[in-house]
Symmetry: C2
Amino acid sequence: MAYELYYWDGIQGRGEFVRLALEEAGADYIDITRQPGRGTGAMFAVMESESEPHVPFAPPFLKDGDLIIPHVANILFYLGPKLGLAPDDEGLRYVVNGLQLTVTDFVAEVHDTHHPIDTSLYYEDQKEEAKARSAAFIRERIPKFLGYFERVLRQNPEGPDHMVGNALTYVDLSLFQVIEGLTYAFPKAMANCKAEYPGLLALRDAVTKRPNIARYLASPRRLAFNEEGIFRHYPELDSAE
Amino acid sequence: MAYELYYWDGIQGRGEFVRLALEEAGADYIDITRQPGRGTGAMFAVMESESEPHVPFAPPFLKDGDLIIPHVANILFYLGPKLGLAPDDEGLRYVVNGLQLTVTDFVAEVHDTHHPIDTSLYYEDQKEEAKARSAAFIRERIPKFLGYFERVLRQNPEGPDHMVGNALTYVDLSLFQVIEGLTYAFPKAMANCKAEYPGLLALRDAVTKRPNIARYLASPRRLAFNEEGIFRHYPELDSAE
């Protein structure tokens, strides 16, 4: 039975981290809200159910038969071994999950660069605070997070091609997405600092060239980044340097 | 061998969600930075290691032998079955993890009520923005998150005593901590809304009375809430109503 992914249509957003894993593995999945005649109504029907015992708080969530699994890192922890994108060693799976949760935290901070005060308001209603938060994000948080991920690659005893072990895992795919997203949202800031992250850039390039990923990126299933998603390009928030 | 918990000394913080599970289970653990002669230096030694392959981004992290596991939800996912605080059904473990990750998101938003702009600055340097963010948090986010958790209790086919299934899991303990923390940080706002969450308050009370938890709460190991932690009481951020 095909996996069912439930997420907003029209954006890459958090759903994209799951899509990349499913696409790399060539898994059979249905992106429910993008199906003709379905739309986000199918997603809200699950979220607003008054009888479903395991109702999710927010998208994305995955349905595998009767099981409903919410949260990107949780979905990937569940799918990883099934898709061949997790280590065989069970202890290392918690290491990968720990890295994925650090990606989750970073992505939440990316979101807050354009929504520092109130997620229910528009960006335009918190633009001045967004400028302050983005300046701090570029100055403090990008170096802290990317510096950390670069260090994990460098300290991998199996070599710097992968975050954990000597084979691709889903967190490698997620870091591809993080680098792509940051480069879209903050092109000047990233141009200023990219020399400091050679391992991450090499990982990004290697993922781009994987046949299933290359096919996916060239397909209409891969939406373009836009200003409705997590990674948004507002020139006034990018580095002035 | 005893589990080793690494977290800041002096605050409950995120480490408290792990402590509650270890204490409830009566597990053998060492709160490393609170040991005489250790302190946070022992924590930084792991985090700043240039040879450790699985270096954590931030505390808390758990050491179990050679395995280093970072992030609260990840630690609890790992410990849950070992401590008898996770469902026997493997699918349901992902349901519990999904709920724990929703707690994680909520706790991050609690933190941002006093640090909406820059985590590296003091609260006093972002007080006006903190007022705006806290107002939105009280108006929009507390009802959204607590309303969701209340609904999960209500829709549990096994009854509203537990979040998942018919026995205590670690996410029940985490929700105890969330209610305690919110009541400390935002007493007026919580007094205004608590009638809407009878299930969560009953769960909080039931957890308080569990023998191992009651013993822990009365011990010096349970630090008081304070203004260095996640849940901080700044009267000017609490509801004006």
